[in-house]
Symmetry: D2
Subunit: 186 residues, 4 copies
C-alpha cells in the first residue's frame, strides 16, 4: 500500500529541508532512497538539493525525457522528488504507478501555482492524483499564511505578466497570502 | 481571515452529506449560508443537494455565466458549493477573492479527476488556490482507499475513453483505488 | 496496514452523521461493519446513533466491561465507535491492537475535552495512540472554529465546575472557540 | 485568530529541524520569534535545539516553574516550544491562552506517548486543546509509519517497564510502528 505524496508550499517554506530530513530518516534505518530534482533548478547548481538552514546534498536530475518507470529500480525504500512542479503529466502518472502498482513510496515536493496564480502542469497532476496531499506552511510578510507566489524584478517591483518560467532574467520570487496577492499595493 | 476550502473525494464518499451538515451547523447558530450546485448535475433534479443517507434540500445553481462576486452579498456567514469540479477558472478566482479579499468563508466540494485520470478544470484551480484542502475518504471495493473514478456502461463494463462529461448516456461511475484503476482486469 | 482512526470534534459538529455515512459507504460495497456507541449516551436511547440531519440507526453498545478483543470477530471490514471519549484506557489499547495486530480498521468518533477543558480519559489515549487523527470542524457562535465545550444550566447560564459526566441533570452543552471559552462574559 | 499548534511525532522524525526551519522563515521576514526547550533535555546541552541534519541554535529553557503568561511579551510573531511533552497541564493552558486570548501564535513540538504507550502529561493537554494538530511522519525499521517509541538498554535489548523519564541511565529510544510495538519479538 505504497502511496504517492505531494507536499506543497509557497516559496521559501522549507521543502528542501523537509526532503533532506526524510532522506536522513530512511538512511538512518539502513534503507535506500533516491533523490531527484529538476534540471531546470540551477539556483544552487544542477543536481543539488539545498536547505536554507545549511545542509545540502547532490541528487540525480530529471528532465523532460526522464521515464521514472525505467529509471527507478524496485529495490528502493522511497523515491524523493524536489521541484516537482516541473514534472510532466506523463511523469506524474509514472510516479503514481510506481507507488500504486509497483509499491514504491514516492514523496514529491513542489509549488502549486506560479506568480500569475496559474497552476504548474506537474502540480495540477500531482494534486489530482496524489494519495496524500500535505501543506508545508509558510507566512506572508503580513503575518498570514502564504499560499501564493509573487515575482519581483531586480528593483523589487512586482511583475504580474510574463512566461511561467523565466530563463536568464534577474527576477526573484517571494511568498504571499491571498489578500496581499490580490492587493494593488504590491 | 476567511478561507477558501476544497473538500475533495472520489465518487460516493459523502460530499453532499458533509455539505448539508455544515449548512445545518451554521443555521443552528442562527447564521445565514447560501448553497449552490452545478446546473449540470441533474441526478436528482436541478438545484438540489441530496445525501445518500436521505436528507436533501433545494439549492441555488451556478452555470458558466455565474459571477460569484456579483451574486454573493457580503452578509452571509458561509458560501457552500457542491459539484465544484464544474466551476470555471474564473469562478474559482472569484471564490478565492470572496474569501481572501471580502472575508466570506467559501467551502467547495468536488471530484479531483475524471474517469480517465484527468483533472477537472474547476478542481485544478481549486487545488492550486484553496487555502485549505481536505479529503473526504472512501473505500474501493478491494478495501483500499479510493482516490480515482471509473466509468462503466449499462452492462457494468468499464469505459476508458470518451468525453469528460457524458450527456444523456447510460454510463455510471464508481470509485476505485489507484491499483484497481490501473489494473487491466477492470 | 489497518489503522486506528480518531475523528474528534466539539459538540454538534456532525460526528454521528459522519459515522453513519462511513457505514453506508462500506455497506454499499457489500462489506460488513459493526457500530458501537456508549451505554452512557442516552440522548436518543441506548444503542442508537442519530444524525441531527435526520438519519439514525441502532447500534451495539459498549460499557466498562466490554472487551473489544473478545467481542470483535476478525471478519468485518470496519469497526465504528461513537462517543469514544467514554472508552477506558484498556479499551483504547484493545482497539489499537485490533487495528495494528489483527488488521481490522477501527474508526472512532468523540469529544476531546469536557466543559472544564479537561481531557476525557478515552480521548487522551485515542489522541496518544491513534494512527490517524482528524478534526470534524464546527463553528462557535462568534464565527471562529469551535474547539471547546461549554456546560449550561436550564436557564442557559454557564456552569464552570462539577463532575465530568452529569447524570440526571438538566445541563446541556454547546461548542465554543478558545477565546469565548476563556471569556468571563460567557 | 492566532492558534496553538501541536506538531507531534515519534522519536527521530525531525521535530527540531522543523522548528529551526519555522524560526528561519519568520526571521527571514524580519519577524521576532522566541524558542524554548525543556531543561530536562540535555542530549545536546541545556538550551539548545539540534537538528540531526546539522544545524543547531541556542534557546531559552522552561522548567516546572516557568509561567509563559509572565515570560512572553506580546510583541513577538511566534513562540516555538520543543520537547513539549514535558510541559505541565498549567503551562499548556497558558500557551492556549497566549494564542486564543492574547493573539500570539504558539507552535509546539513533542512526542505523544512514552516507551510503555502511556501519554506524556504535556502531550495529553496539547492534544486536547491545540487548535491544530499535525503529524511529522517517520518510519519504523519494518517500513511502516512509526507512531510509538521503544526504550532499549545499552545492549540494545528492549525495556518494557520503568519510569517515564529515566535520569542518568544508559537507555536509548527508537521509533516503532504499532505492530512492532506490540510484537513479542522486540
Amino acid at each position: 500500500m505504497a502511496k504517492l505524496y505531494f507536499r506543497y508550499s509557497a516559496m521559501n517554506a522549507g521543502k528542501s529541508t523537509a526532503m533532506l530530513q526524510v532522506a536522513h530518516n530512511y538512511e538512518e534505518q539502513g534503507q535506500m532512497v533516491r533523490l531527484f530534482t529538476a534540471v531546470i533548478d540551477n539556483r544552487y547548481g544542477v543536481g543539488k538539493v539545498t536547505s536554507r538552514l545549511g545542509p545540502q546534498r547532490e541528487t540525480e536530475v530529471f528532465d523532460a525525457n526522464t521515464d521514472f518507470l525505467q529509471v527507478v529500480d524496485k529495490k528502493i525504500a522511497c523515491l524523493l522528488v524536489d521541484e516537482a512542479q516541473f514534472l510532466s503529466k506523463e511523469q506524474v502518472k509514472q510516479l503514481h504507478q510506481l507507488a500504486q502498482v509497483r509499491g514504491v513510496p514516492v514523496i514529491t515536493y513542489g509549488l502549486r501555482s506560479d506568480f500569475r496564480g496559474e497552476p504548474f502542469p506537474g502540480s495540477s497532476y500531482l494534486l489530482a492524483l496524489a494519495d496524500d496531499i500535505e501543506e508545508i506552511k509558510n507566512i506572508c510578510s503580513c503575518g498570514k499564511k502564504a499560499t501564493m507566489n509573487i515575482r519581483v524584478d531586480d528593483n523589487g517591483k512586482r511583475i504580474k505578466d510574463g512566461e511561467q518560467i523565466s530563463i536568464g532574467g534577474n527576477e526573484s520570487y517571494r511568498q504571499a497570502c491571498g489578500r496581499c496577492f490580490y492587493s494593488e499595493i504590491h
